[in-house]
């Protein structure tokens, strides 16, 4: 769920690094943390065991700065890879916007890669997400080790859906930034296309920077029907090649150039996300709203004070009146 805060002018995206244990997810984040300027990144938080194995998650916030009037923030998470941490692994996936699957290129780790990928699909399904709808990049890690599988073999076993992939050696940093840049690009493209799939007044389609911060609720609602599944498939239309494409890429040739045509192909291959609605979408309107204890007590008792305004130290007279109405019972939650 891309969070957009028009008041603080922020766009916030959550990217999760998934994969089997010891495949290099934390190393990816550590490399990014070590190379990115301090002004761009926050602290790397690791909830790890004493043996430096991820217990819950690693977290690295990145702020790439002001783009078109909005600050673009990315929260990078890793999951614990070990099989028995599935409960916590699943929790990290909540609200994910993009996924990087870090696969281990060693032949004896293939079974773990497949198991982790299956587990990812299951965990996403439990949240009501579809793995085919989510932006995803595969990273074949540990390419610097001897005796590793070829990319063709890895592709055949792990990537039947044709996700974009990169070869990487996270310890020395090869492919780490390429992976991150591509997943960010796909996430932003997707956020744009999913918002564009809804019927809305043309005025809203203007660049955000040109809009005042006032609430656009004032805009007359042209069409109020919810996002219908039969929206035009063109909602996933591929954007024009970014201007940066002309920039010479210093990536070695074995890596897919970024931003390359692969991402665009990837988008075309994917089914339209227009009709996608997560089954687990919560409906906050169904939550019962209790009456405010203080307000309900204050209502109808003739006092002219605004009881909805909290008062730290009520006068003695007021204390007395509170006491009569069971103030201390409410204070300590006694029923």
């Amino acid at each position: 769920m891309v969070s957009i805060n028009y008041s603080s002018r922020e766009v916030c995206c959550k990217i999760v690094y998934y994969g089997p244990g010891l495949s290099g997810k934390t190393t990816n984040l550590q490399y990014i943390h070590s190379k990115v300027p301090q002004t761009t990144r926050g602290n790397l938080i690791s909830l790890a065991t004493e043996a430096d194995r991820t217990l819950y998650f690693d977290f690295l916030p990145i702020n790439i700065g002001n783009i078109n009037g909005l600050a673009a923030k990315f929260q990078l998470y890793t999951v614990p890879g070990q099989v028995y941490y599935n409960a916590t692994r699943k929790l990290v996936l909540r609200g994910v916007d993009g996924l990087v699957f870090v696969a281990d290129s060693q032949p004896d780790k293939m079974a773990e890669n497949i198991e982790s990928l299956t587990n990812l699909e299951e965990n996403l399904r439990e949240y009501g997400y579809n793995i085919d709808e989510l932006p995803m990049v595969i990273q074949y890690n540990k390419r610097d080790l001897p005796g590793i599988m070829t990319v063709e073999e890895l592709e055949a076993r792990l990537n039947p859906r044709g996700w974009p992939y990169f070869e990487a050696s996270a310890t020395i940093g090869n492919g780490v930034f390429d992976t991150l840049k591509l997943i960010i690009k796909i996430v932003l493209d997707k956020a744009k296309s999913s918002s564009g799939s809804r019927p809305r007044p043309a005025a809203i389609a203007q660049p955000v920077a040109s809009q005042p911060t006032t609430a656009p609720q004032a805009t007359p609602v042209a069409a109020t029907q919810p996002s219908s599944g039969d929206s035009a498939p063109s909602s996933v239309a591929v954007s024009a090649p970014p201007a940066a494409a002309s920039k010479p890429q210093e990536t070695p040739e074995q890596y897919r150039p970024f931003p390359g045509s692969h991402a665009e192909e990837h988008h075309e291959r994917k089914p339209s996300a227009a009709g996608f609605t997560p089954a687990a979408t919560v409906d906050s309107s169904s939550a019962p709203i209790e009456r405010n204890a203080i307000q309900s007590a204050g209502t109808g008792n003739g006092e002219d004070e605004d009881t909805s305004r909290p008062v730290m130290a009520p006068s003695l007279k007021r204390r007395g009146s509170y006491k009569k109405r069971g103030f201390f019972k409410r204070l300590f939650g006694i029923k």
Binding site: P61, E133, S195, R200, T219, A244, I289, I294
Partner: protein, 163 residues
């Protein structure tokens, strides 16, 4: 990707912030954060300058999520209030509506009872605001990020992420 994008406008965030600052004055806590269950910081009030609020938000959302799982295992739906007691500072977390967590950090100048009372009251008011946001976003137009946002982000990324 979830489709229920959270879009908060200035009018609503002002409303949220005034509710939280009213609560802070009332219960004399140090600061308060409003955190999305996904780990995004919605807003903050009070003395938060010395705090890494981004990391705090992610960790608190994680803490709440793990507690929810614990609740499920013992047969509860959710624990709606969490309290961490320290030597000097304490943290009170309570659920707001379905998707947010109100975090209040306080010290010995006030009491847990006061914080709990005011947090409960504020959570109810905040839930109403979030309800309104949800209704507006369902019925109204949905502005997203502009079309060239991704392209412009691209150039920045190339500058920042250099090996």
């Amino acid at each position: 990707m979830s489709d229920d994008n959270l879009i908060i406008y200035e009018e609503e965030i002002n409303q949220i912030e005034s509710l939280i600052s009213k609560m802070l004055k009332g219960c004399e806590a140090k600061c308060a954060l409003l955190v999305d269950k996904d780990g995004h910081l919605t807003t903050r009030q009070g003395f938060t300058h010395s705090l890494d609020t981004t990391a705090l938000a992610a960790l608190m959302a994680g803490s709440f999520a793990s507690t929810k799982e614990i609740a499920r295992l013992v047969g509860e739906t959710e624990f709606s209030v969490l309290f961490h007691q320290g030597k000097k500072d304490h943290i009170h977390m309570s659920l707001v509506g379905e998707r947010s967590i109100l975090v209040v950090i306080f010290d010995d100048r006030t009491t847990i009872g006061m914080v709990r009372l005011y947090a409960k009251e504020t959570a109810i008011e905040l839930a109403k605001v979030f309800d309104k946001i949800k209704k507006d976003s369902e019925s109204g137009p949905k502005p997203g990020i502009s079309t060239d946002f991704a392209t412009m982000a691209q150039d920045k990324l190339d500058d920042i992420f250099q090996d």
